[in-house]
């Protein structure tokens, strides 16, 4: 096997290849093989969702959030998209020697606040300090468990004609982090969309019994997540470029820096695949909640078995959108 590069962690094709060829092969079991955001477990007569995620964001503080709240919301969201109510969370922190105590305090406070907001309890944890240079200030892992209240969410349920809905404008998080990290100032502050989705998703699942599948478009953005869904469903997906919601400053920043908003990470958005007839109702439910403002139906599941994602461009053309290959960089050329 080749040496691991940053590309293997960017959420795109390389990462999927690594997961499939190494981890899934070695650990193979029916639950893992489903590749859900959370594993759904039968314990006694209860269905429990279980997930884990590590957070290595640079910078650790950014407009609209920080590594602490991100670590809580990210795990809450991974449970929520599986139709589970997040209950308990663990926190593992790997801290670089020399980190300012006040920085750590700020992160921990932010986590406590985020947990309160999302209605979860942090019930166990672990702390390690490593030599300077062994990690970048702080890495946080969170695991979470939740109780499944809506069963049957699965890419297997996805059928031709289903609507593809996104819960709000995309790309805010990526632009917020990028402009802070690369020191590119825009005058206007673009705030991350980092937020817990538990309540929003609960409302959606209460308003419709025909939700097929959900996933939050984090690393790799809308394009990559739609590709994952298409692969899982073994069905094509077609979206309309003009319907994809992107806020004006994010669009402008993309034009300026040569980025494609379809590949920008979100931390407070969810993609919902649902039966076409329930689309408008779900849209209404989303729009009534602050966290779902700007939600749009962006496309539909096609009948073909290509497992490809197609974009009908604003100019009237059509193109395939693939998964991300390597994180996007600002460019001038």
């Amino acid at each position: 096997m080749d040496r691991i590069t940053l590309g293997h962690g960017s959420g795109g094709r390389q990462m999927h290849k690594l997961i499939d060829s190494l981890f899934l092969k070695a650990f193979s079991n029916p639950i893992l093989n489903q590749k859900r955001d959370s594993a759904v477990l039968n314990i006694g007569n209860k269905k429990i969702a279980f997930t884990t995620d590590s957070y290595v964001v640079d910078p650790i503080f950014f407009p609209g959030g920080d590594i602490g709240s991100l670590a809580i919301y990210g795990t809450v969201n991974d449970l929520s998209v599986c139709g589970a109510r997040a209950l308990y969370i663990s926190v593992g922190a790997v801290i670089e020697e020399g980190l300012d105590g006040s920085v750590l305090e700020r992160i921990v406070r932010s986590m406590a606040e985020a947990a309160k907001k999302a209605g979860v309890r942090i019930v166990t944890g672990d702390t390690k300090v490593v030599e300077k240079g062994s990690c970048d200030r702080i890495f946080i892992n969170t695991s979470g468990i939740g109780e499944v209240y809506y069963e049957g969410l699965s890419t297997d349920k996805i059928a031709p004609g289903d609507s593809v809905i996104v819960s709000g404008p995309v790309g805010d998080h990526a632009i917020s982090v990028l402009s802070k990290r690369e020191g590119i100032e825009f005058g206007t502050i673009v705030r991350s969309d980092s937020a817990p989705l538990d309540k929003l998703i609960w409302k959606v699942l209460r308003s419709s019994k025909k939700v097929r599948f959900m996933r939050d478009p984090t690393r790799g953005g809308l394009a990559t997540t739609l590709n994952e869904i298409a692969l899982g469903a073994k069905s094509g997906i077609a979206i309309e470029e003009r319907d994809v919601p992107v806020r004006p400053p994010v669009r402008q920043a993309c034009e300026l820096l040569g980025l494609d908003p379809l590949y920008l990470a979100c931390e407070g958005r969810v993609i919902i695949i649902a039966a076409k007839e329930d689309g408008p109702r779900i849209l209404k439910t989303l729009g009534a909640d602050k966290a779902g403002r700007g939600a749009k139906i962006i496309g539909s599941v096609t009948g073909d078995r290509s497992a490809r994602v197609y974009l009908n461009t604003i100019a009237g053309g059509k193109r395939i959108i693939d998964m991300l290959s390597g994180e996007q960089l600002p460019r001038i050329c």
């Binding site: 669009r251 009237g316 059509k318 395939i320 460019r331 050329c333």
Partner: protein, 360 residues
């Protein structure tokens, strides 16, 4: 977005498409080269190839600075990054371009001081704030970008900033287009000239392409309406001439002030184009009176002349003789995540664009 959205209008693109269809002579093939990498990107991004009649062939040209920058330049930049007290500043484009054994991104992960900047002004700021360090800017790009680098050097000279220098690999466009037309396998009927380069150079430098080589030329903008209109203009030319489609931006005389800045700081030199080879008068080097800002003189580093993969056909792709799908490495050994040749490296490189946006 003003001056952007109206040039993406579907009403206008469909009008242009139907006009192109009615003008197109089915009995012939139209071979047009879009010179600029940003054109290539836009063509794929908006799915324009799908909209055009099949006998209009768009061939991607050499206008991607990342693609034509030689490996040795990267090796040199990486070697300088390894010197003590050096901060490398660069446009994001260069970060992932592989040198012989590493990339700037890898070196940055390994702790080297490499900063992505959006502007040479940002690089000068970094020099001002780190007077105990040497700040080196990677000067890559064509006539659009060169004036901004020239301005930074003039500004450093004026302000007495001694810890700023430029590792220069700037190139100029017309000579490369001439080299393509001079090639015996070249079959190009016309050029979509790079709109933003033309905004600086004006249209005069391209006259020889029409006169000597009989290639029609239209300076084109980068929105779908711009490119389609430029294609239509090329098709409707009675004889090869040099025209401007991108009139809202391009003055046929160019930007004289910007050219003066280039001439003050740089002089013509021969230059190595990755995949094409050495071309006379196609590059720029820093003039003697500004040599103290020349990183290649300031930092003496040793590099070995690197070897390119023999089966890579990037050279022929850059010249428009072959397309990426003709290459046996394409999509197999050579992918955007692990590029072999130059055209797969930058997201606007021909091979990367083919890979990302589907192949045809």
């Amino acid at each position: 977005m003003k001056y952007i959205d109206e040039f993406r209008s579907r009403a206008l693109t469909s009008r242009l498409i139907s006009r192109i269809r009615s003008v197109a002579d089915e009995g012939r093939e139209y071979r047009y080269m879009e010179v600029c990498g940003t054109h290539t990107m836009a063509i794929f991004k908006y799915g324009l190839r799908e909209l055009l009649p099949r006998n209009i062939r768009l061939i991607s040209g050499p206008g991607c600075p990342v693609c034509v920058t030689p490996l040795e330049y990267l090796d040199r930049a990486i070697a300088i990054a390894g010197l003590p007290k050096v901060i490398i500043t660069t446009f994001g484009d260069m970060l992932r371009v592989p040198g012989s054994s590493s990339t700037l991104e890898n070196e940055r992960a390994g702790g080297k001081h490499i900063k992505v900047v959006y502007s040479t002004d940002d690089a000068l700021d970094i020099a001002n704030r780190n007077t105990d360090k040497e700040v080196v800017f990677l000067g890559v790009g064509f006539e659009t970008t060169v004036p901004t680098v020239a301005a930074s050097i003039m500004s450093a000279a004026k302000q007495g900033i001694h810890n700023y220098s430029v590792l220069c690999a700037h190139k100029t466009m017309p000579e490369a287009l001439g080299a393509i037309m001079a090639h015996r396998d070249a079959r190009i009927d016309g050029f979509l000239l790079p709109g933003h380069v033309s905004a600086i150079t004006g249209m005069k430098p391209y006259g020889f392409l029409a006169k000597r080589y009989g290639a029609g030329c239209v300076a084109a903008g980068f929105e779908p309406v711009d490119m389609l209109q430029a294609i239509l203009m090329l098709m409707e030319q009675k004889r090869p001439i040099v025209e401007v489609q991108y009139k809202r931006i391009v003055d046929p005389l160019g930007n004289r002030l910007a050219r003066k800045a280039i001439e003050k700081v740089f002089e013509k030199s021969s230059s190595e184009w990755r995949g094409i080879g050495k071309l006379k008068n196609s590059g720029l080097r820093i003039r003697k009176e500004f040599s103290r800002f020349d990183a290649s003189l300031k930092f003496r580093v040793k590099t070995v002349r690197p070897r390119e993969d023999k089966s890579c056909i990037c050279g022929a792709v850059l010249k428009g003789i072959k397309t990426p799908v003709d290459c046996k490495l394409f999509g197999k050994k050579c992918t955007p995540a692990d590029p072999v040749g130059s055209c797969m490296v930058s997201s606007e490189g021909t091979c990367a664009a083919y890979y990302k946006y589907g192949r045809r």
